[in-house]
C-alpha cells in the first residue's frame, strides 16, 4: 500500500462507516457502535503507518475535481510533519473518545445517530488535516461545522440543545463568510490556493500584493469562528449541550484546534499587521475566558471557558511569531517560532483537555447526569480512577513542572516575554486565573463532603470509560517531553522556542503564578457551599461583575438579533407585501387586464380562454415586431 492509498483509506474509512450507519443501522445501536468504533480504530492504526513512515511517507498529490473556464479546484493531500502531528491528535484522541462513548452512551436510544455523527465528524476533520489547498480546507471546514451541529443537537427534544446547535452553526458561518472571501481573494491575487505552491511563491518573495494584510485577516475570520475566539466565541459554552464525549472530541481536542492548524497551514501568507491583530485577539480571549471560567457552576462550562482561554494562548502564540527581533536589531518576520509553540500547545492541550472532559463525563455519568459542581463533593474516594486521572489533567493544564502543559505553556510565555511585555503580563495573569479555576473545580468536585444524594450515590465508571482516561492521563504526563513530542512532531519540534538566559525567569514566573492561583483557590474553597460560591459570599460585587462580563456578548447579540435583525426583516417583509405585492402588482395587473382584454376570462382558469388569448397575443406581437423593426 502506497502512502497515498493509505491516506485515502484513512479519509474514507469513517465516511463508509457513517454511510453504513445512516443507510442501514439506524435502529441497531449496538451494531452501529461496533462499526463506528472499529472504523475509528482502523484509521488510528492506518494513520500510525503514515505518521511513523518517515520521509517516504511525506508526500503531496492532487486530483482536479472541478474545472470551469480557468477556475480549477482540486482535491489532494499534503502530508508533511504538521499534518502528521495533527493526524496523530485527531485519530488517537478520536479513537479513545469513541471508546469512551461506548460506555457513556450505552443507554442512549439514539446511539446509532450519535456514532454516525462521530464518524462523519472524523471524516470531515481528517479532510482538513490532509487537505492540500484552501478550497478543500473550506469544504471540510464546513462539513466539520455540520457534524458539530448534528452532535450538539443530539438531545434535540431539549430546546436549549436545539438553540445551541443553531447558534454554533450560524456563528461558524459568520466566520466562514470571511474565510471564504479570504480564499477567493487569495485565489484572485496569487492564482492558486495550493499550500505548496503558495509556499514556493513565498520563498520566491512573490507574495507581496497590495491586499497582503487583507488575505490573512480574512482567513483568520475562519479561525475566529471555528476556534471560538472573540467576538465569535459565544457558541462554544452553549455547545456543552451536546453529549460530554462530543465536547471532549469536538469542542476541546480537535475541531476548535482546527483554526490554529489552518493558521499554521497558511503561515506563509502572514504579514506583521495581521499577526498583530491575531496576537491581541488571542491574548484578550485568553484573559476574558479565564475570567468567565472562575464563576461557573456547571462542570462542563468551566472546561468550555477554559478551552476558549487555552485556544486563546495558541492564537496568541501564533501571533507572537511576528515581532521577533533579529540579532542586528531590525524587526524580522519569524513566524516559525509561533507555529512551533502553537502546535506544541495544541497537542498537549488536546491530550489534557480531552482527558479533563472525559473525566468530567465520567463524573457526570457517575452522578446520574448531575453537572452542577456544588452538588458534588467527595468524589475522590468514590471514583478513584477518575480522580487520579483528572488530577493529572488539572496539574497539566495549570502547568505543574514535569507535566505536558508545563512545557508547552512555558514555550508560549517565553515567546511573549521575548517579544511583548503587555502580552506576557496578560498571559501570566490568565495563567494565575487558570490555576485558580482549575483548583477550584478540583476541590469542589473531589474533596470535602458529598453535598447531594447523587454525589453520595456516585460510582466509578466501567472499563470502556476508564481505559481512555488512563491512556490520556499517560499522554498528559509524557506528551511534553522531547523524545515523545519530538517523534510525533518531526521537524516542528525544532521550532519550539528555547532560551538559556530567560529560562529561569520563565520557570520562576510559571511556578509562581501556578502556586498563587492554585493556593488561593485551595484556601477559598475549603468548605464549598452547595448554594453560593465562595467569591459571591466574600465579594458579591466582584462576582456579579464577572457574571455580567460573561453575559455581555450574549446580551449584545441577543439584542441585535431580536431588535435589529428581526425587525429589519419584518419591515422589509411588510414593504414586500404591501408595496410590491399590493400597489405595483395590482397596478400591473389592471394594466395587463386592459391590454390583454382577457383578464376576466383568465380568472376562470379556463384553458380555452388562455390559449386564445395567448395565440392572439403572439400574432399581434409578431405583426408589431416584424412591422416596426
Amino acid at each position: 500500500m502506497t502512502p497515498v492509498q493509505n491516506a485515502l483509506l484513512v479519509l474514507l474509512v469513517p465516511l463508509v462507516s457513517a454511510a453504513l450507519i445512516a443507510l442501514f443501522l439506524r435502529r441497531r445501536g449496538g451494531l452501529a457502535t461496533t462499526v463506528s468504533v472499529t472504523a475509528a480504530g482502523a484509521l488510528a492504526a492506518l494513520s500510525l503507518l503514515l505518521i511513523f513512515g518517515g520521509d517516504a511517507a511525506r508526500f503531496t498529490t492532487s486530483v482536479e475535481w472541478l474545472r470551469l473556464g480557468d477556475f480549477s479546484l482540486s482535491l489532494g493531500f499534503l502530508f508533511d510533519d504538521l499534518a502528521a502531528l495533527m493526524l496523530f491528535v485527531v485519530s488517537f484522541v478520536g479513537f479513545f473518545i469513541h471508546l469512551f462513548s461506548v460506555g457513556y452512551m450505552h443507554e442512549d436510544k439514539a446511539r446509532a445517530r450519535y456514532f454516525g455523527g462521530l464518524s462523519i465528524f472524523m471524516f470531515s476533520m481528517l479532510g482538513i488535516v490532509l487537505a492540500d489547498n484552501l478550497f478543500m480546507i473550506f469544504i471540510f471546514w464546513e462539513l466539520v461545522g455540520f457534524s458539530s451541529y448534528l452532535l450538539i443537537n443530539h438531545y434535540h427534544e431539549k430546546q436549549s440543545a436545539a438553540d445551541a446547535s443553531k447558534k454554533a452553526f450560524i456563528a461558524n458561518r459568520v466566520g466562514d463568510f470571511g474565510f471564504l472571501l479570504g480564499i477567493i481573494l487569495c485565489y484572485a491575487t496569487y492564482g492558486t490556493t495550493n499550500l505548496v505552491e503558495l509556499r514556493a511563491l513565498g520563498e520566491a518573495g512573490a507574495l507581496s500584493a497590495t491586499c497582503a494584510s487583507a488575505i490573512p485577516l480574512l482567513l483568520f475570520c475562519g479561525a475566529l469562528g471555528k476556534s471560538a475566539q472573540m467576538p465569535l466565541h459565544v457558541w462554544l459554552p452553549d455547545a456543552m449541550e451536546g453529549p460530554t464525549p462530543v465536547s471532549a472530541l469536538i469542542h476541546a481536542a480537535t475541531m476548535v484546534a482546527a483554526g490554529i492548524y489552518m493558521l499554521c497551514r497558511v503561515e506563509v501568507l502572514m504579514v506583521a499587521e495581521a499577526l498583530n491583530v491575531i496576537l491581541w485577539v488571542g491574548t484578550i480571549t485568553a484573559l476574558y475566558a479565564a475570567l468567565c471560567a472562575v464563576v461557573q457552576r456547571d462542570i462542563k462550562k468551566v472546561l468550555a471557558y477554559s478551552t476558549l482561554s487555552q485556544i486563546g494562548y495558541m492564537v496568541a502564540a501564533f501571533g507572537l511569531g511576528s515581532t521577533l527581533v533579529s540579532p542586528d536589531g531590525a524587526p524580522e518576520l519569524v513566524i516559525a517560532a509561533g507555529v512551533g509553540a502553537a502546535m506544541f500547545h495544541l497537542t498537549t492541550h488536546a491530550f489534557f483537555k480531552a482527558l479533563l472532559f472525559l473525566g468530567a463525563g465520567s463524573v457526570i455519568h457517575g452522578c446520574h447526569h448531575e453537572q452542577d459542581m456544588p452538588k458534588m463533593g467527595g468524589l475522590a474516594k468514590k471514583m478513584p480512577v477518575t480522580y487520579a486521572t483528572f488530577t493529572l489533567g488539572v496539574f497539566a493544564i495549570i502547568g505543574m513542572p514535569g507535566l505536558a502543559g508545563f512545557f508547552s505553556k512555558d514555550a508560549i510565555l517565553l515567546l511573549a516575554y521575548q517579544n511583548n511585555g503587555a502580552v506576557f503580563g496578560t498571559l501570566a495573569l490568565s495563567a494565575v486565573l487558570t490555576a485558580f479555576y482549575m483548583i477550584r473545580m478540583w476541590r469542589i468536585v473531589f474533596f470535602g463532603e458529598a453535598r447531594s444524594e447523587v454525589a453520595r450515590g456516585a460510582h466509578e465508571s466501567g472499563l470502556a470509560m476508564t481505559v481512555p482516561l488512563l491512556v490520556l492521563g499517560l499522554l498528559a504526563v509524557v506528551g511534553g517531553y522531547g523524545n515523545i513530542y519530538g517523534r510525533l512532531a518531526g521537524d516542528l519540534a525544532y521550532l519550539i522556542p528555547h532560551s538559556e538566559e530567560a529560562h529561569t525567569t520563565i520557570l520562576v514566573t510559571s511556578i509562581a503564578v501556578m502556586l498563587l492561583g492554585g493556593g488561593l483557590a485551595w484556601l477559598l474553597y475549603r468548605r464549598p457551599d452547595s448554594r453560593d460560591d465562595a467569591i459571591a459570599l466574600k465579594s458579591p460585587a466582584l462576582f456579579r461583575s464577572l457574571v455580567g462580563l460573561q453575559g455581555v456578548f450574549d446580551s449584545a447579540y441577543g439584542y441585535y438579533v431580536a431588535k435589529v435583525q428581526q425587525r429589519f426583516a419584518m419591515m422589509l417583509n411588510f414593504l414586500e407585501k404591501v408595496f410590491l405585492a399590493g400597489v405595483i402588482v395590482r397596478g400591473t395587473a389592471s394594466l395587463v387586464g386592459l391590454v390583454g382584454l382577457g383578464a376576466r376570462a383568465l380568472q376562470t382558469g379556463s384553458l380555452h380562454a388562455y390559449v386564445y388569448w395567448f395565440l392572439l397575443g403572439v400574432v399581434l406581437l409578431w405583426a408589431i415586431v416584424s412591422g416596426v423593426f
Partner: protein, 514 residues
C-alpha cells in the same frame, strides 16, 4: 434502413404526452397510475441515458470551426410543416442542456411518484396534467429550435395554471390569476426579444445553431443587441423571479399543489436562466455587456439581500421555501452577469442543484403539512421525536439548500462567488453574506418545525394521535432527489465537464469576440 431510429429525446417528450392522452381517454384509475409510472419513469431513464452516453470533447469540435453539429449530440430533425418560416422540430443536447434535461427527468419522476401517493382528488386529471407538463419540460431542454424551445415552455406552463387553480391551497384563485398574468407577461416580453433576433439576424431560421453561425459571421448591431437583451433579461427575469418582479413566486408556490410546485420551481423556472445562457449570452454579447450591471445590482441587492431578510421573516413554511428560492435565483443572475465561463458554468451547476433541492423541499414541506395540518411554523415543533426519518431528510435538504459541501448546490454557489470577484468585489461580499442569511432562515425553520418541544397548538391539533414517519411511498421520491444531490455533490465533474466544454465554445468565445 427500415428500422426506426432510437431517438431518446423525442421519446422522452412523447412518452409522457402519450400516457397523458391515454389517461385522459378514460383509463381506469389503477391502470392509469401504473401507466403514469411509465410516463414519468421513461423520461428519467432517458435523461440518465443521455448523461451517461454524452460524448466528451464536443465543445472543442464546435469551437474549431463554424458549422457542423455546433457542440450538440443526439440530434434529430422533424419537419412540422412550418419550415418555410424556418421552424423545424430540431432536437439535440449540448453540454449546457444535457444536465438540465437529465435533472428534469429525475425531478419529474420524483414529482410524479409523489403525486401518485398524494391521493389527490380527481387523481387521473392531475396526473395527466403533470405528464403534459413533464413533456413540455423535457422538450424545453431538448429543443435546438428557438420556436419549439418557447412552445414547450408554454406547453408546460398552461397545466401549471390549471393545477394551481384546481388543486391549489389557500388563495388559489388569486394565486392562479397572478401567476398567469406575470408569467404570461414574462413569456411575452421574451418572445418579442426572440422574434427580434429572428427578424434582425436575417437568417430566416429559428435554429439556434444556424442563428449562432449566422451571427458569428455578421453580429447584430449594438442597439439591436441592447434592446433585444433588455427584453430577454426582463422577460426571462420575470419568469425566474428577478427582484422586484418576483412577487408571483412565493404566492404561487404557497398555493400550488406540491408536485406542480416541485416541477415549476425545480425545473420550469430554469427556462429563463437557460434562455439567457443558451441564447442571449452567445447571440447578444454586446447587449449583455450593457445590461449586466443593472442585472447584478437587482440580483445582489434585491434577490439576495432584501429577499434574504424577507425570507427570515416568514412564518409559513411553504412561503419561506418560495422566498428562499427567489433568493437563490439571485445567485444565478449574478453568475450570468459575470459573462464568464466560470460564472455561467456555476449557474448551470446551481440550476441543476437548485432544481433537485427545491423540489425536495416542497415535497418534504407537504409531508410535514400532512402530519401537522398547518404550514405555520409557529404552530409546529418537536416533530423529529415522532418522525425522525422525515427530520433527517429535511435537515439534509436544508443543508443542500444553504450550500453545504457534499451537496450539489455548493459547487454552483462557489463557482459563482469565484467568478463574481473579478466582476464586482462589493457584489461578491453581498453574495457571500448570503451564506449567513440562508443559514439563519434555514436552520431556524428546521428548529421550529422539528426540534425542541411541540408547541401548544401542535399538541392541541394532533395531540395523542399516532403520527406516522415518512413511509416508503414518500421516501422513494425523496431518496431519488437526495441521491442525485449527493451524487453531484461528491462528483461535480459528472456535469461540470460537459458544461465547461460547451461554455468554452459559446459564451467565452462570444464574449471575447465582443
Amino acid at each position: 434502413m427500415s428500422e426506426l431510429p432510437f431517438d431518446p429525446l423525442l421519446l422522452a417528450i412523447l412518452s409522457p404526452l402519450a400516457v397523458a392522452l391515454v389517461i385522459a381517454l378514460g383509463l381506469p384509475q389503477r391502470a392509469s397510475v401504473a401507466l403514469a409510472c411509465v410516463g414519468f419513469g421513461l423520461p428519467a431513464l432517458l435523461g440518465l441515458h443521455t448523461w451517461y452516453h454524452f460524448p466528451s470533447g464536443l465543445g472543442a469540435v464546435a469551437a474549431s470551426g463554424v458549422g457542423g453539429a455546433g457542440g450538440y449530440a443526439f440530434q434529430s430533425f422533424y419537419d412540422t410543416g412550418l419550415s418555410r418560416f424556418g421552424i423545424m422540430l430540431s432536437l439535440g443536447l449540448n453540454g449546457i442542456s444535457m444536465p438540465l434535461f437529465a435533472m428534469a427527468g429525475v425531478v419529474g419522476l420524483a414529482a410524479g411518484l409523489y403525486a401518485i401517493q398524494s391521493g389527490a382528488e380527481r387523481l387521473k386529471t392531475y396526473l395527466a396534467l403533470l405528464l403534459v407538463m413533464q413533456a413540455g419540460l423535457m422538450g424545453v431542454f431538448a429543443s435546438v429550435d428557438v420556436f419549439f424551445f418557447y412552445f414547450f415552455h408554454e406547453l408546460a406552463l398552461i397545466p401549471t395554471f390549471i393545477m394551481v387553480g384546481i388543486w391549489g391551497g389557500r388563495d388559489r384563485h388569486y394565486a392562479a390569476m397572478k401567476l398567469t398574468i406575470y408569467l404570461t407577461l414574462g413569456a411575452m416580453l421574451s418572445l418579442v426579444g426572440l422574434i427580434a433576433i429572428y427578424v434582425k439576424s436575417g437568417a430566416q431560421t429559428f435554429d439556434l445553431i444556424a442563428l449562432r453561425n449566422a451571427l458569428a459571421l455578421q453580429p447584430l448591431g449594438e442597439s439591436v443587441q441592447s434592446y433585444a437583451f433588455g427584453l430577454l433579461m426582463f422577460g426571462f427575469g420575470i419568469l425566474v423571479s428577478l427582484w422586484p418582479l418576483h412577487t408571483w413566486a412565493p404566492l404561487g408556490y404557497g398555493a400550488a399543489p406540491s408536485s406542480a410546485a416541485m416541477l415549476h420551481a425545480g425545473v420550469l423556472k430554469k427556462f429563463g436562466l437557460y434562455g439567457l445562457i443558451q441564447i442571449a449570452l452567445p447571440l447578444l454579447p454586446l447587449g449583455a455587456a450593457k445590461w449586466v450591471g443593472l442585472l447584478a445590482l437587482l440580483a445582489a441587492v434585491g434577490n439576495v439581500l432584501v429577499i434574504g431578510f424577507v425570507t427570515m421573516a416568514q412564518r409559513d413554511l411553504k412561503q419561506m421555501i418560495g422566498y428562499s428560492s427567489v433568493m437563490h435565483m439571485g445567485y444565478a443572475f449574478l453568475g450570468i452577469a459575470c459573462l464568464s465561463t466560470v460564472g455561467a458554468g456555476g449557474v448551470v451547476l446551481l440550476m441543476v442543484a437548485h432544481g433537485l433541492s427545491v423540489a425536495l423541499m416542497f415535497l418534504l414541506a407537504t409531508s410535514v403539512h400532512q402530519r401537522t395540518q398547518t404550514f405555520d411554523m409557529a404552530e409546529m415543533g418537536g416533530l423529529a421525536q415522532r418522525a425522525p426519518v422525515l427530520a433527517a431528510f429535511f435537515v439534509a435538504a436544508t443543508m443542500a439548500g444553504i450550500g453545504l459541501p457534499g451537496f450539489a448546490n455548493f459547487w454552483g454557489e462557489l463557482s459563482i462567488f469565484v467568478a463574481l470577484w473579478s466582476f464586482s468585489k462589493l457584489f461578491t461580499v453581498i453574495a457571500v453574506a448570503g451564506i449567513i442569511i440562508s443559514a439563519i432562515y434555514g436552520l431556524r425553520a428546521v428548529a421550529r418545525v422539528f426540534f425542541g418541544s411541540p408547541s401548544a397548538q401542535f399538541t392541541a391539533r394532533v395531540g395523542g394521535q399516532p403520527l406516522a414517519d415518512l413511509g416508503w411511498a414518500e421516501r422513494l421520491p425523496a431518496l431519488l432527489l437526495l441521491g442525485a444531490l449527493l451524487a453531484v455533490g461528491f462528483w461535480p465533474k459528472s456535469i461540470s465537464e460537459p458544461v465547461n466544454d460547451a461554455l468554452q465554445s459559446t459564451v467565452s468565445v462570444a464574449v471575447s469576440e465582443s
